[in-house]
Every structure is written in C-alpha cells, then in structure tokens.
Symmetry: C3
Subunit: 138 residues, 3 copies
C-alpha cells in the first residue's frame, strides 16, 4: 500500500498554492498518493477561471513577493496549477472540494475547475487523512 500526503488547502494566495502543488509533485515522484482538501479561500482559488487569473500574494511579504513572482516569470517556472495538473497525470492525486464551503458560497461542482475530482465532507476527509503519513494545513 502506498503512503499518503494529505493537505488541507485553506489559503488562496499564489505563494501558498505553489507549496501545495510542489509538495504534491514531490510526493508523487516518491510514489506516494496525494489528497488535497480545498476549503475557504483555497476552494475559491479553484472556481472556474480563477487559477489562470489569480495573482494574489501574501501581503506580509510586500517587498519579497513581487520579486519572487518576477523571478518565476523570468525563469519560466510553470504555474502552480500546471504543476498540480502534471502531478495528477504522473500519479494518484485527488483534489476534493469542501462540501460546507461550496454550500456556503452557493456554488455547485460545475462552477469549479475540472481538476477537482469530487465534493466531500470534512468528516470523510479527516477519516482519509488519518490513514496517511503526512498531514499539512496550508
């Protein structure tokens, strides 16, 4: 049975979506399964059309963040979304939308980016995560 990395992605800034995608890639490369549970701002970042237009960076790093974004463009670093898409092609990465957040926002699965596999409740996610080896909240 493969190991599992479970991430709750609460944040919706580009700089925190990168670590989610990068760790998903790294885990898949190591033969691990990945479960991502999108909630709050993290789910909003996956509304249809959002992944390609989101340029929000953490305001705490107002000097550093634009420099990083600039370096990424110059060095042709793939977007966090592209990294996540490739990780999904290379291994078992499941992207779950938080049912409660979806309800609250009055959205349906069709309003979300197609990279999302399903809509699950927090209880289901928690009981999956406890079978895994790594759990992170981003």
């Amino acid at each position: 049975m493969p190991n599992r990395l479970s991430m709750v992605v609460f944040s919706g800034t580009v700089d925190r979506l990168y670590p989610a995608a990068i760790m998903a890639s790294g885990a898949v490369a190591m033969g691990m399964d990945v479960d991502i549970f999108l909630t709050f701002y993290g789910l909003d970042a996956f509304r249809k059309g959002q992944p390609s237009t989101n340029t929000k960076m953490d305001v705490n790093y107002a000097e550093l963040a634009p420099m990083l974004a600039q370096l990424m463009r110059e060095k042709n670093v793939p977007s966090w979304y592209e990294m996540l898409r490739i990780a999904k092609e290379m291994g078992k990465v499941r992207v779950h939308a938080c049912a409660m957040t979806l309800d609250l926002m009055g959205l349906k699965k069709d309003d979300l980016d197609p990279i999302i596999d399903d809509v699950v409740g927090v209880g289901e996610f928690v009981s999956q995560a406890k079978e895994g080896e790594i759990t992170l909240f981003l």
Copy 2:
C-alpha cells in the same frame, strides 16, 4: 484506542478559527479524539470575552472575507466557538493553553474562556501529538 487529531492553533482570525472548529467536529463525528493547543494569537482569541467579539478576518482576502462573513450571517451558520462547544459536548475534545504564551502575556487560566481545559507546555503537547494520526498547524 481511538485515533487522534492534534491541532496547534496559532492564528486568531475568525476565518482560521472556523477550520479548527469544523475539523474538530468532523473528527469527533468520526469517533476520533481531538487535542487543540492554543498559542500566540490563537490563545489571545480565547481570552475571556474575546470569542464573542472577534470579527477579525485575514487581510489577504479583503474582498472575499466580508462576503463569506455576510453569507454566514444570512445562512445562520453557528459561530466557530459554538461549533467547538458542540464538538466538546459530542466527543473528547481537549483545549489546551500554551503555558509560555500565557506567561508572556501575564495572564492566568482565569483570564481565559472556560472552554479551555488546562495549561500545558509545548513539550507535553508535542509528546501527545506524536501518538496521534493527524497533526496540523493553523
């Protein structure tokens, strides 16, 4: 022996206190025990009187956060505090205050909301958390 979810709650904004309470509820519904370790801004959010007056939302989401807060009011979503209180009634949820933060702030247990069970050191929390299945830092 039941499984355990351990959360270090460092943040004190309402939008991050919700996931703590919601995951506590979800874990309890799945028969898990929950340990919450309140530190820094997370502990400040549990000073007496704070839970009911705190309206702070993450400044990174200045457009989205007020919309979410508004939707919660309209849909009569219980407060994060109420969710946590109910989770405590339904299962084994222990809320710990970080001894070092309490000391630093010059506070005593009596200055904190009664939902808090005890005051513990970080070493004690870490050694509890390592027996658990899910560990998160919020």
Copy 3:
C-alpha cells in the same frame, strides 16, 4: 528509534518563526529528532544577516503583535534564532534549505546562515517526513 517532528517553514515573520523554534526545543526535550525544511519566505528569513535583523510580524495582528514583541524584549525572551541554535546543541535538529527556492532566488548555500545543514529537494524531504510522527506547515 527516536520519533521525529518535521516542519515545513514557509513563513518568514518573527511571530511564526518562534513556534518553529519553540516546537523544535520542545521536541528535542522529549527526545525527538527534528527536521525543518525552509522554503519561500521561510528560507529568505535564513539568508546570511537576516535572522538578527528581521522584525517582521504578521500584519493581521497589528495591535497585538507589537505588544508581544515588546513583552518579549522586557522579559528577555531569547530570539527564535537563539532558541533554535540551543535546540540544535541539545539534540538532533536538522535545518534543510529547499533546493528549488534557492535556485529561484539565485542563491547558494554560502549565502545562507550557517545554522542550515544542507540543501535538499522537496521529494527527499517528503520521503523523510513520512517516516515521522508529526508533520506541520508553518
């Protein structure tokens, strides 16, 4: 075999570097090994010269953060860096720099504070972390 605490330190504000250092200390005191993986703003906070000059606090807590910083000075609380240095002397604490972030910033290991042990890829870190008991993202 000792237990292990693995932390991904993404944040570079002083108030989030403290929990990293404090949890490292607590874990070491409990006989655990600690692995810290520095990425993004967390790695920037470990550039040479940065640890002693960084005074950045989370902007979400603009009233509380300066009060905490002031209390720490008054009570002679050691800096997060000093706490981490002592934890390293007392036990097995390894501090890793994220290879991808280093590359992106155009930095070399020599540009980083000497407390950093090595430069590792995310895959290597993830596969170490899954052997551990506690995994946190700060």
